[in-house]
Amino acid sequence: MIFLFLASGLFLGWSLGANDAGNVFGTAVGTGMIKFRKAAIVAGLFVILGATLQGAGATRTLSQLGSVNVLGGAFTVALCAATVVAWMTYKNLPVSTSQAIVGAIIGWCFFTTSPVDYTTLVVIMTSWLTGPVLGAVFAALLYLLMRTYIRKSRVHVIKLDGRIRVGLLVAGAFGAYSLGANNIANVMGVFVNASNYTVQIGNLIIPSEQVLFFAGGLAIAAGILTYSKRVMLTLGKGVLELTPETALVVVLSQALVLFLFSSSALSAFVVRMGLPPIPLVPVSSTQVIVGSLIGIGMVKGVQEIRFKLLGSIFGGWLLTPFFAGGLTFISLYVISNVFEIPVMSRQQAVNAPQDLPVHFHFPAYPMVLWLFLALLVVALFAGGWYFRTAGQGVRSRYPLGQWDGNNGYRPLSGEFLGAEGIPGKAIIKPEPGLSDTNRNAVVKHALHLSDERRFLESMRDSLEQAQREPELQKKNERIQGMLTALHQKMNDSAEIRRFYMELETAIGPLPSKLTAAGSHLTVQEKKLALLLRLGLSSKDIAPLLGISHKSVDIARYRLRKKLDLRKEDNLIQYINTV
């Protein structure tokens, strides 16, 4: 019977594994740096380890929020949270398991008129903000470290690839461990107070809490092994298109934040240092990743953060608990009145939270203090970044990219073009059509412009010198030299060749029907056909073919003849329609 009730929690664990493993190994697998099989095995193992060894801290905080003490109630709470997560995922809305489970527990508290520990609620809710903020701080710091290392070490790209590969595997294992440790509370937290049994293997007596964590870990691992491949590939190649270097930073910062919020030992260590304890609460790995991306964006100088979209993401996260709470309230009514399954017990559960060794009554002020510290670091970062880039007004003239203080203008890399949160939407404004081809074209165009400018500048200088020249003969020589240079420039065959190649790439070669019909067309006539296809007038075509306006008209006439066009046929229409 207990396994039947546990099914909803296990389902929640399975879907968490299927979805959140992508946050840990998505880029590594999607970009082919690590094989899925290897990633899934490592993630599965470390999730189970994290859940079993370190899952207690965050679970106790969740139990403190509302002590769901009957299996029927726990089943309903987990089922409603899982349903809301599944529904919102299906609707492409940003969703977090942590928020869903908190909303569901509060729904249970309201239905059963059990007291809600508002202090704990404040702590948990503050962590929803602290998590991404800390993620941004860690990611920004790690990114700066990584960038400095890569630039200073001048390591060969092949060696760097090997190191990043190892780094991604280690960071992924750490991330999976932290994910298990932190998020097991979402999966099994509500069952801890409702279960009261032990499992005996020889002399070893395992309490129900550990068994639940192990089972939840197994469910998450099952989700990773059975269903995360598609998510990982989607994240790696589509939605979360990061370079391996940035992916390493994101995964590491996410792992650090999740570890921070789930390690009792670290919290105790901080207390021994005389600092307020770190609250052990379940935080959303997706939220932390969004924070990390923003942190990296700030360091890289990406300015166009889409605050509207960010607002909708945060809005979605806040809506989740309301949906989950409402659904739980209604479901509990149905379960208790229609199926007559008890959803609460007035007796205190055996695993009462106060018997537990770890301090979990967090007053609100330490949390606020931590948040304040995190915000201070962010403000320092933002200030530093602002002053670093201030005065570079040139940036606004380059809307497609960013101004790098050392290397000048460079276009945006693809990593923020499709970021986390909502599939298909980006947190940082995407650059429409900034594909490799377009970027290539933009750079070529820029280089061409700079060449043209240099040429014009040299002409201007020569003219000024000629103007200042007192001797008439020298003046004439200078002007002659300029005329020669202008003739050379106008007859630059390489440039014209390049233009026709680009033209053919842009509008495609002449249709086969046209080339077949006019197999006797000269090169000049083929060029004319291409330019007409572009929609240029005779006046515009003349300088491009190096002939006069009148000659273009004659060439058009000859082309019509060769193509056997009747008087009433339109040449341009014919060229465009064949």
Partner: protein
């Protein structure tokens, strides 16, 4: 194990770059030998270049195979593959052009010898400048742009000087027949193609470096 594999790949890439560099030097020597009518040395240059081209092809294929079979740098290998192909084009062009000297045996008047040597040097300077830029892509992508400007400079210089030579051929050498003038013009174009290819590599490297800069 991974370290030894990556060291081997790095050695192969460095070896390929050396091959490109060497082929350019041999081409330069070959053109000089042809112009100074050192027939034996020229024949030797031809053989060396043919051998080098075959070896470089082998190395290039080995590198490309390694990149794909060992799944190295999945996000960069497409670009690197293109870079190697373009650099290989430089060797192929050098060989092809030198063989054209041998097969077509163009008549180059005495007064054009120095011009052809200068044209070759300018064109090869563009190609030679692309090699350090390509090397720095692998371990210092931010420095690529600093090195690439030489390529554009020499390419432009080659274009201008080739035009000067062609003008000289057609306007200042009435003693030459039209067919000889055409023939010489083709050889200026052949030499120019090396710097044009170097420019293409430079364009490619610019984009690749932008993508790699963290």
């Amino acid at each position: 194990m991974f370290s030894s594999r990556s060291n081997k790949s790095i050695e192969l890439i460095d070896g390929f770059f050396n091959g490109v560099d060497q082929s350019l030097l041999i081409f330069k020597e070959g053109v000089k030998n042809y112009l100074h009518q050192n027939t034996a040395s020229f024949a030797n240059n031809l053989q060396e270049l043919a051998k080098l081209e075959a070896e470089s092809d082998l190395i290039r294929r080995k590198i490309e195979e390694t990149l794909y079979t060992q799944s190295l740098m999945p996000q960069l290998r497409g670009d690197i593959w293109r870079l190697l192909e373009e650099l290989d084009n430089l060797i192929d062009l050098s060989k092809k052009n030198l063989f054209q000297f041998d097969v077509e045996n163009p008549l180059i008047p005495e007064e054009l010898v120095l011009d052809f040597i200068k044209l070759t040097q300018l064109s090869l300077s563009a190609a030679e400048a692309v090699i350090p830029a390509a090397k720095s892509y692998f371990n210092q992508p931010a420095a690529v742009s600093e090195k690439i400007h030489r390529v554009y400079f020499y390419e432009k210089e080659t274009d201008v000087f080739a035009d000067v030579v062609r003008r000289k051929i057609f306007k200042e050498m009435p003693a030459l027949g039209l067919s000889e003038k055409f023939h010489l013009r083709y050889f200026t174009l052949h030499i120019e193609t090396i710097s044009d290819t170097a420019e293409k590599v430079a364009d490619l490297l610019t984009i690749m470096a932008i993508k790699r800069i963290v």
